[in-house]
């Protein structure tokens, strides 16, 4: 297997883009990533694009062709990857494999979603498709309610509190203040989260990631050729993807995501590293309870301690481990297909030392963690500065 590095990264602002179409978003992100790599388009050999539900949000399929066409890179192969909210992570994993295998030297990986084109309750129905249509959504299980069931059990088993969950949202908003690409660049307080009203108890509106439009892209290159494009390549030195059951009820645990634990163990084993070696992590906080479970399942903290350590500030910027410096899904925004790629963009900036006021001091090792649905898919990647 060949080594693979990121030589260019770019993204649109995340938020409501009523004046911008799906295709314009993905072109903007792709052009930014290629410009960052100072790479002529003809060097790109393949495209992998993450997108969850374009048919539901904008009634458009055949996204692979659309992207290649709109960025002027046809006839190279262009493939859409779908794994609900982990679509971007799966696209990244697929692009990585395409280079590591030796088939291509340069691949662009993008992620995109345009979620505000339709009304909120219809968008909720589309997102519900990340779970089990016949046995979850049929019974009225919205996406937040599935995570609410995990939160309720986590509170019961480990004494996790609503205030501890709220502290994740407060921390992520504080990080987003310094991210010009974030949807919500405003500090919030524990009280504001606590008073934001139940969506599905115990989760309140400010425990939930928003509906977001946006796109992100990275240019992947065989590491042996990376210096041709970048003075500061960032190597993805381990990547792992795992599957879990589609529906929550079929799991062996409701306070942990099996697919995350499997992908994390595999990624760390391949890298011969431990969770203690990670300086900066972008984890999948579609809901605050998801961040708490993630920092436990990834091995940063013991099972059951996620709420407590979040409240103690141990995951804040430049604390024990900096988690979700971008603002996470909660405050940076969550255009579902783009999120997994955005996480790689943020880690690239962090490892290059270009993250401005949200820079993690001396960041050497980065991690991204992207989850599809309630844990049907998980992708975990490890990053370091390239040779």
């Amino acid at each position: 297997m060949r080594k693979v590095s990121i030589v260019g990264a770019g993204m649109t602002r995340f938020g409501e883009h009523w004046e911008t179409s799906f295709r314009d978003l993905i072109v903007e992100a792709g052009v930014k990533a290629l410009t960052d790599a100072q790479m002529p388009g003809q060097d790109v050999q393949a495209i992998f694009g993450g997108c969850m539900a374009s048919s539901r949000f904008i009634a458009q399929e055949h996204i692979g062709s659309l992207i290649a066409d709109q960025v002027g890179l046809k006839p190279i192969p262009s493939t859409r990857c779908e794994a609900a909210c982990a679509s971007g992570g799966v696209a990244l994993h697929s692009g990585w494999l395409a280079i590591a295998s030796g088939r291509y030297d340069v691949v662009v990986v993008g992620g995109v979603e345009k979620m505000t084109e339709i009304g909120t309750s219809r968008a909720a129905l589309a997102l519900g498709g990340a779970g089990d249509q016949e046995w979850e959504l049929f019974n009225g299980a919205s996406f937040p309610s599935i995570y609410a069931l995990m939160a309720c059990r986590h509170m019961h088993d480990y004494g996790t509190t609503e205030e501890q969950m709220a502290s994740c949202a407060v921390k992520n908003h504080a990080n987003a203040v310094n991210n010009e690409y974030a949807q919500y660049r405003k500090k919030i307080t524990i009280e504001q989260v606590m008073n934001s009203g139940y969506v599905a108890s115990p989760l309140k509106l400010f425990d939930c990631s928003p509906l977001t439009d946006g796109a992100a892209a990275v240019v992947l290159c065989a590491s042996e050729k990376a210096r041709k494009y970048s003075d500061a390549p960032v190597e993805i030195f381990s990547t792992s993807q795992a599957s879990g059951t589609l529906s929550l009820a079929s799991r062996s645990s409701f306070t942990s995501i099996d697919a995350t634990r499997v992908a994390a163990r595999d990624a760390f084993d391949h890298a011969r590293l431990t969770p203690k070696d990670v300086d900066v992590a972008e984890v999948h906080d579609c809901f605050t309870i998801a961040e708490i479970m993630a920092i436990e399942d990834l091995g940063f903290f013991k099972k059951g301690e996620g709420g407590k350590v979040s409240e103690e500030g141990r995951t804040a910027l430049n604390a024990e481990i900096s988690v979700n410096t971008s603002g996470g899904l909660k405050a940076c925004g969550h255009p579902v297909g783009a999120t997994g790629v955005k996480q790689a963009v943020e880690i690239t900036w962090q490892l290059r030392g270009e993250a401005g006021k949200r820079q993690v001091n001396g960041a050497e090792i980065g991690l991204t963690h992207n989850v599809g649905g309630s844990g049907g898919t998980a992708v975990v990647n490890l990053y370091k500065r390239g040779d």
Partner: protein, 132 residues
């Protein structure tokens, strides 16, 4: 899901009677039923079996913001329920005082209307649970 008449019809037996199945080799029970056992895969056969209609709540939530098609019912309770044979299912909880919907609460199945596809569309029936 809208316009899913064949699906509503196909699943009706399973939803009306909690009909699942069980692996003949490893004895694992499944609800909803599966075509092959997740553990034994092709090495075993699954035989139909009705699930017990009683169980206990192992987690619950009250849904205030409902997906399309359920707006009129909000707020409503959803729960993970461990049936008496150990199989865990997701269901709504109805006809129960909210203070009695707690982890550990004993529940039994009731037959209810679950989903209506607008004023003209099909009505799907199935199981919900109530606290005993």
């Amino acid at each position: 899901m809208k316009d899913a008449l064949p699906l509503i019809w196909r699943r009706s037996k399973e939803r009306y009677r909690l009909l699942g199945n069980r692996c003949q080799s490893c004895n694992q029970a499944y609800y909803p039923s599966r075509k092959i056992c997740s553990k034994c895969r092709r090495a075993s056969k699954l035989v139909p079996e009705e699930m017990p209609k009683k169980g206990k709540v192992i987690s619950f939530t009250q849904v205030f913001s409902a997906p399309e098609g359920f707006e009129n019912e909000a707020p409503y309770f959803l729960a993970l329920i461990e049936l008496d044979n150990g199989v865990i299912i997701l269901s709504q909880i109805v006809d129960s005082p909210s203070e009695r919907i707690v982890i550990g609460a004993p529940v039994k199945m009731v037959f209810r209307r679950v989903f209506e596809d607008g004023s003209q569309g099909a009505i799907a029936y199935g199981f919900k649970f109530k606290v005993e």
